[in-house]
């Protein structure tokens, strides 16, 4: 799910950075507002947990693997902006220190794994808030939305960047990308994120670790 360097055309890289930049500015301002002695340790811990959770590569049928993100848990506890800036920070460290996800594609990776997942899960949670299964569904939706955005970024590459009929960057179109990416996230990684979010959310609320902006 981390798009490596060389997979997206330069124009896509520029466009995704341009789209992400104002969002990062807003998100960082919100983070500064919300950080205090109570929230900081928990927000830092949940960011670290997101990093750890992404290290669990889960093999699935078909010879590939994937992972949950942990964005949804932060989004339903602290709101989508805070979650977006936290997961962006995690992605930034992964790209620079571990070569996981590209540097030119960091904007795109942030849009899909940080922003798309945080906002989708936050709003789903708001709708279902009174139901006990809300965090499970939110987690699942967050990863499925990420995979939709990932499909969009990858799938348009062969349409916009070819030379002499050969794709220059990611070579597979929507017909191949959509079922592989969205399908695997609906069936596997979304379910893992849902279970993780649901259990962790219940644990945090039950132990009164954090009452949450929504509680």
């Amino acid at each position: 799910m981390h798009i490596p360097d060389g997979y997206l055309s330069p124009i896509t890289c520029i466009a995704t950075y341009a789209a992400a930049l104002p969002l990062w500015v807003i998100a960082f301002k919100k983070l500064k507002q919300d950080l205090n002695e109570t929230t900081l340790p928990l927000i830092a811990s949940l960011s670290a947990l997101s990093f750890i959770i992404m290290m669990f590569n889960i093999p699935i049928p078909g010879g590939t693997s994937g992972h949950a993100v942990g964005a949804s848990l932060i989004a339903i506890l602290f709101g989508p902006w805070i979650a977006s800036v936290c997961v962006s920070l995690v992605l930034f460290i992964q790209a620079l220190v571990f070569g996981d996800g590209g540097v030119t594609t960091f904007g795109a990776n942030a849009l899909l794994m940080a922003f798309a997942s945080s906002f989708s899960s936050y709003y789903i949670f708001q709708i279902l808030k009174t139901k006990s299964f809300a965090p499970y569904v939110s987690g699942w939706v967050s990863v499925v939305c990420s995979s939709l955005v990932l499909t969009l970024f990858l799938g348009i590459q062969p349409l916009i960047a070819t030379l002499d009929g050969q794709p220059l960057y990611f070579p597979f179109g929507f017909d191949v990308t959509f079922p592989a990416v969205v399908g695997s996230h609906i069936l596997f990684f979304g379910v893992v994120e849902g279970i993780f979010t649901g259990i962790a959310y219940r644990y945090i609320v039950k132990n009164r670790i954090y009452k949450g902006v929504n509680a």
């Binding site: 750890i52 290290m55 590569n57 620079l96 590209g102 644990y203």
Partner: protein, 93 residues
């Protein structure tokens, strides 16, 4: 805080489970894959910017994979806590 750090520690101890999968993530293939599947390697992927990571793919050269994975995990977690610590100090002023 203990209530959140202890479960995190347990999850952290389990991270080598993430190494079970030999499979790459979908679309995170080696260049040879493209050669085989398409008969060519897309130019942009072949000539991609290559940033020299400190611990590429959470491995450290010449080190056991599991040990390197733990160290990578610790490094990532330390960086995250460090950044938040600095941010908190900066905001407190």
């Amino acid at each position: 805080m203990k209530k959140i750090l202890y479960p995190m520690l347990i999850i952290f101890i389990l991270i080598p489970l993430g190494l079970i999968s030999e499979n790459p993530a979908w679309a995170e293939w080696d260049n040879e894959y493209y050669q085989e599947a398409l008969g060519f390697i897309p130019k942009g992927i072949e000539n991609a910017l290559h940033v020299k990571a400190l611990a590429p793919d959470y491995t450290i050269e010449g080190m056991n994979d599991i040990v390197a994975y733990y160290l990578s995990g610790m490094l990532g977690v330390a960086l995250i806590f460090g950044i938040f610590y600095l941010l908190g100090k900066k905001l407190a002023r």
